[in-house]
Symmetry: C2
Subunit: 240 residues, 2 copies
DNA sequence: GTCTATAGAGAGATAGAC
DNA sequence: GTCTATCTCTCTATAGAC
């Protein structure tokens, strides 16, 4: 795929153009199929023929709607980026740290379960240099991380959680939760499972939560007393 | 890339064939260049021409030494897998948990710093289904994880660390440490840094260690008293 | 607006001279 | 053992009929 400027601008006509009745449906089907194919084969490995077949539309239609393969790829990425930032909203200065972390980790794990392809497309893009999302990373994501790091720093300063490097703490949460989508093959093979069920994800989420909360110096569940309690050697992880 | 059976067998003539004086050097140069190109462009996106140019050899020579592009890719993967399992040796039943974890996390972070391309090639392979490493995952890696999980379970049973799901704890360590190689672009953009120096990695390693040890219910540094001490609200992270 | 048929570019692989 | 020149196939993209 060509290395054009990191132009993450809309390639889809903004939302619903008046005459778009079938158009919307087709665009949606193409985007869904493309997300999957890009996730499975990578950006370079995906072919328009694959995407066409999976969407049930003839190949020429993809070009009619999206122009080039790269445009389609960017449209898929845009879709993903738009939802990427949403779940961190629970981080607010006066929120309870344990509750906020629980909500965020749970949402991230849920995203890994329900939209693994999106996570993989994003991971693949970053892995290979992220030229299509440079601006997103350096502007949108950086601004968000700066803001949320300030919230975490506030919690630490107030003694409401153990001292952490706020940015690295966020990186850890991303790494761990997205790992369950991006590395699912490895996880399944190592655990000897053919697939990861909803129950599997509930159990894995509970364990991730336990580890993250402990790393934050927070006791189990929603309790908000960080410093005093001991590391709780025999916890009963409650599924959130 | 064709989906042939997960045949991770040697494609390089086993070690040094008698007549290999220049051969060894060339093979080495090609493998090094290939690892980099595969990491940057992915398996499908990499071209033999790119690899040839970066290795300084004509394209036909790559085919002379390795046959097909897929064979070369497998050779690169084999190289990586061989070193992938090594650093976890520090996990032994009578080792000190904190010391073993410290050594392992430090080694993994060092690998992310010094061989980021290897980590990316592996991540890319897993991300796209891991068809070339199926046997490695289901046999070698699974066996290793089973063995090391038993060690961790022993530590937990002996009250030497907080209760964890051993396999998920290992996944967490992998996810977090490899994240610094695989997602380096995102980390740099979010932190506003042009590159990550050796000092950056030292600081990041210290923080990862702090989080991992805390998640394991272990106090700072090499101390081996897990249960008694408080979460240590004001630690001075010592670079390992 | 939809689709078939095809043009054109690029990459993997090899023949054959050196 | 080494390398140039080329063959062939696949994939993107489009022209033009419907």
């Amino acid at each position: 795929m060509a290395r054009t400027a990191a132009d993450t601008a809309e390639t889809i006509p903004p939302q619903a153009p008046p005459q778009g009745r079938i158009r919307r449906e087709n665009v949606e089907r193409i985007l869904k199929a493309a997300e999957r194919v890009f996730a499975e084969a990578g950006c370079a490995g995906a072919t328009m023929a694959d995407i066409a077949e999976r969407s049930g539309l003839p190949k020429a239609n993809l070009h009619y709607y999206f122009g080039t393969k790269e445009d389609l790829y960017r449209a898929v990425l845009d879709n993903i980026l738009r939802m990427w930032l949403a779940p961190i909203g629970s981080f607010a200065p006066d929120a309870d740290p344990a509750a906020a972390l629980t909500a965020y980790v749970t949402a991230k794990m849920e995203a890994s379960r329900t939209r693994p392809h999106a996570s993989k497309v994003f991971a693949n893009e970053i892995l290979h240099g992220g030229t299509q999302v440079e601006r997103f990373l350096a502007e949108d994501l950086k601004a968000l991380v700066d803001a949320k790091a300030a919230v975490i720093d506030g919690w630490v300063a107030a003694g409401r959680m153990a001292p952490v490097d706020a940015r690295q703490f966020l990186f850890m949460i991303w790494a761990v939760t997205q790992h369950y989508a991006d590395f699912d093959v490895q996880i399944r093979k190592v655990l000897g499972r053919r697939s990861l069920t909803r129950q599997d994800f509930a159990a894995m989420t509970a364990e991730v939560l336990r580890l993250v909360l402990r790393a934050a110096g927070l006791p189990e569940s929603q309790a908000s007393e960080p410093q005093a309690s001991e590391p709780s050697p025999d916890p009963v992880p409650s599924t959130p």
